[in-house]
């Protein structure tokens, strides 16, 4: 069984909603064992960046990711958050729990874990790290505030991976 999967989601064309995409790129630069990893980082599912860590990116969470989740000991979900949450960086342990989305095809990390449990028999220990977003307009740039927070979150994630070894 593999150790870590880091899952990022959000729209990199909508400003700070792309914070997970930004962090995953930085993680590749920091941890990847092969030089082509950054070039291979496309929206095509799981990418192994070293023997300990795989990453996954998509615009949104999707049900079939539950099958992948069942193959890992640990999962870290990365997303942006908005002003209702007081913390600039929120780190939360999450448990499998299906949450309904009244109108849309939207899934939460807890829902994906629940699907992994129910369909594939197990789910990883999981943490959700969310970073405050300030601007969500049409832009591929993060705001300066979110960029700073993303760098802090990056260090936290690397630390979590190191401590789990």
């Amino acid at each position: 069984m593999k150790n870590f999967i880091i899952l990022g989601y959000g729209n990199p064309d909508r400003g700070d909603d792309g914070v997970a995409y930004y962090i995953l790129n930085k993680l590749i630069q920091k941890l990847a064992e092969k030089s082509t990893a950054l070039a291979e980082f496309q929206e095509t599912g799981i990418l192994e960046i070293n023997k300990n860590v795989d990453i996954w990116y998509n615009l949104q969470l999707i049900p079939e990711v539950s099958q992948d989740l069942a193959d890992y000991e640990n999962a870290i979900f990365i997303d942006a958050h908005t002003s209702e949450i007081p913390d600039d960086i929120l780190i939360t342990d999450i448990s499998p729990h299906y949450q309904n989305s009244p109108f849309t095809h939207h899934l939460t990390p807890a829902s994906c874990l629940d699907l992994a449990d129910q369909l594939f028999g197990r789910s990883p220990r999981a943490t959700l790290i969310t970073i405050r977003g300030y601007r969500f307009d049409f832009s591929r740039e993060l705001s300066p505030q979110t960029t700073g927070l993303a760098e802090q979150a990056l260090l936290t994630i690397v630390d979590m991976i190191d401590h789990a070894k």
């Binding site: 959000g10 997303d79 699907l115 129910q118 369909l119």
Partner: protein, 474 residues
Amino acid sequence: MTEKITIEPVTRIEGHAKITINIKDDGSVEHAYLHINEFRGFEKFCEGRMVFEMPLITPRICGICPVSHHLASAKAADAALGVEPPRPASLLRELMHMGQIIQSHGMHFFELAGPDLLLGFDADPATRNVVGIIQANPTLALQAVNLRKYGQELIKIVGGRKIHPNFAVPGGVNKALTMQDRDEILSKLDENIATIKVGLELFKGWAAQNAEQIAEFAVFSSGYMGLVTPENGLELYDGNVRMVDKVGKQLELFPAANYLENIAEHVEDWSYLKFPYYRKMGWPDGVYRVGPLGRLNTCDKIDTPMAQEEFVEYRKMNGGKPIENTLHFHYARLIETLFAAEKVRILLEDPDILSKEILNTHHNYQGEGVGIIEAPRGTLFHHYWVDKNGQMEKLNLIVATGNNNWAMCEAVDSVAKKYVKGPDITEGMLNRVEAAVRAHDPCLSCSTHAVGQMPMLVEVRDTNGVLLNTIKRG
């Protein structure tokens, strides 16, 4: 005294929707409104961009149906630049589109609609979801996940990416299909057709046991619109637009370029989303529905055998006239999914599908072009005005959810009047109101999805605006 109840799934940035229910003194519903605050800035954002970039930019409107925007955009660019894609390229575009239909429809039925239907509108919300379905039928649940995965993998194999495809370009596509790709897609087709058929049988079994509910849940007359083949068969990728009236009589049959002659948009001060209608009948007589229900009411047949068999049975329900029941959006959606799967085989067995002649580079500049496609949730229009340098001067988009705006509002009002009594709204009542929207599979908030959504709020207010009751959901 009239009381106002507001149901508000407070999403963020764009796609904000809420439902307001006005309650009269006797507890009955005076009127219910669905308000949509759909972001329309995208059109402005695209002005000045190069037309060949548009199939890459416009899919970023949406994470749920990027392929539909991608292909509609490429078709509009074809028309504006005066370039006809070679036949193999059109086949490959259509194949990718079938992947989109399969994954989107599959997810909608099993994830969003299925729990209501299979577990009941009044079931405990803690289990009235896909997990409840897993517990009730684990094999089916796994098949459902695999069905969506199949659609996504098809898109990836054909286009190279699951989302934000860069496959279709003005004049064709940039990647041919290999024999290995074709065989891989074909190898898993039968098992997924079997899953769709299980879904159809489940729906029909549920419908047989819930005929009364189907007959009273948001049933109303309207016109209908959808693409059709030259023989008025169901068409999802290309063709003329057909509009029929409430009894199925043809109102119009027109090519994409003529859509502005036939469609106008009405504005209400309580919604940010416009209400398209059939121009010649005026507002509100010209209101119509799109999406699976609209399409199966617009066409006369389906050109694939299994879906046609289902279509004949489906249309018999109202003696061959249009089906008006909102809950039959689900039935129609499953028939379309079967059609899309059958179409995958037809396309893959076409001798041209492996051809390397996939791009026409001979342009004949027209300056203006319209691309229309049937997105999973309805007819999608891209209209581009392009200068001689290929730069976008302006564009107009009518998205599928916009085309169903009136229908969703009408469905919400109808269901609220039927099921809501007084300010003390039960979970089952609320779920039915939501289900009236959900049946249309709207795309309300798909471009951004950050954590921080507030739960759905139900507010009861008196005529002075004083808050009497609040219910939180989600």
